[in-house]
């Protein structure tokens, strides 16, 4: 028989000795499945790049590396905020987790802002999806990743609401977070880390690879 999300037990801080998979097992089907597809994207990119390396290098030179670095910083920082937020929920009287999730969202919004500016600059310079193969990959990879970021902002909003409820409840009775809530929150956090990880591969591949 299929079991629902596990129990109403209260979580406690982790010890390094317990081997475990964060979040529910099912979310890893999605995360690993998604990463397999992106790996396929990257393999195809590197393969075709090898056939016309001049064109790829010329086109790459027109990308704004500063935006790329800035966005990498945004996502790495936001991942750290998410870790702090999740970790905070393991204490008996969590307090600052919602703040961390708000900061993580702010970084995600910063990323989106830069991405939109970057797209605008490219389009007004006459560079579009069909300009050449490099820009095709550029728009599609970063576009699909951007879609993941937007979904991720929804996920972070969900984590924020959950954290607020837990903090409010714990301030009265100091009950902490239940295992069931923690599993959900870790699932969402794992998704956000995947979004971060994908960017860390996309960035060098499109902007830096020589």
């Amino acid at each position: 028989m299929n079991k629902g999300l596990a129990s109403e037990e209260i979580v406690s801080p982790l010890t390094p000795e317990t081997p475990r998979v964060p979040g529910e097992a099912g979310v890893w089907i999605f995360i690993l499945g998604d990463m397999v597809v992106f790996s396929l994207f990257f393999t195809v990119f590197v393969y075709y790049r090898g056939h016309d390396i001049e064109l790829y290098l010329q086109s790459q030179a027109t990308l704004n590396q500063f935006y790329g670095v800035l966005n990498t910083l945004f996502l790495l920082t936001s991942s750290w905020f998410v870790v702090m937020g999740v970790e905070g929920l393991r204490s008996k009287a969590p307090k600052y987790s919602p703040h961390f999730f708000i900061l993580a969202m702010a970084c995600g919004i910063g990323f989106s802002w830069i991405k939109i500016i970057e797209y605008k600059e490219k389009v007004s310079a006459g560079i579009t999806l069909t300009t050449n193969d490099f820009y095709m990959y550029y728009y599609i990879f970063t576009g699909l990743h951007f879609l993941h970021v937007l979904i991720g902002l929804g996920v972070l909003l969900f984590l924020l609401f959950k954290a607020k409820i837990i903090v409010q409840r714990s301030s009265h009775k100091s009950t902490g977070t239940t295992q069931k809530e923690m599993t959900l929150i870790e699932s969402g956090a794992s998704y956000w880390h995947m979004v971060d990880l994908l960017w860390i591969v996309i960035f060098p591949l499109l902007y830096l690879l020589k």
């Binding site: 299929n2 079991k3 629902g4 097992a25 099912g26 089907i29 396929l40």
Partner: protein, 234 residues
Amino acid sequence: MSKKAQLFCVWCGIIFLVLFTLGWWLIAGYIPPISPALSANEVAAFYQQNTGIVRFGLLITLFSSAFNAPWVAVIATQLKRIEGEFPALTYTLLISGTIGTIVLFIPPMVWTTAAFRPDRDAELIMLLSDFGWLFFIMTFPPFFIQSLAIGLAVFSDKSESLVFPRWVGYFNIWVGILFIPGGLITFFKTGPFAWDGIFAFWLPLTVFFMWYLVMFPVLIKAIKQQSLTNLPKV
């Protein structure tokens, strides 16, 4: 009894897969796809040289798509068990599944029109060929919503014994997202995002087949579990 009818509907999904593979792939020869970069004469040659076999294969393909309807219906039946009295996601699945079935009906008919008079102007044959392919690959939205509806319904299951395990929900959302690159074929005649490319054709097609094969056992399990929980209480 409802169990037998439901099991019949689940098997219809497999009948769809088998007939579709047989008709579209093995007989009519649409896999691998003809390249969108071919000239009108080359496209017309496909219909002129294989007229009889293309007509017959497309007839089987057309027939296969009918079996998608009971398959969608049985998924809806199981989602209804999760949702109970106000089954908004079940209806979403039913409507998008219906549109999806229509999407499976139309391209074989468009290609059949091309094969009906293969001696007509090559430009016209190419027009019909293009229309069929674009309609077949680019129409991802109903399939995307179909998978999303199943995913969200699975997540909303709060009962003691779940109808579908939660990974089925995550799997469906993954499947739904993988259909999206099909929308990009409007921009390309060559490369991985053209209608014969790896990301617009091979990947979504593989995932589409996989979806039936993964949903099949979990549906059977859900139906069996349902007949256990519906036993009269002693």
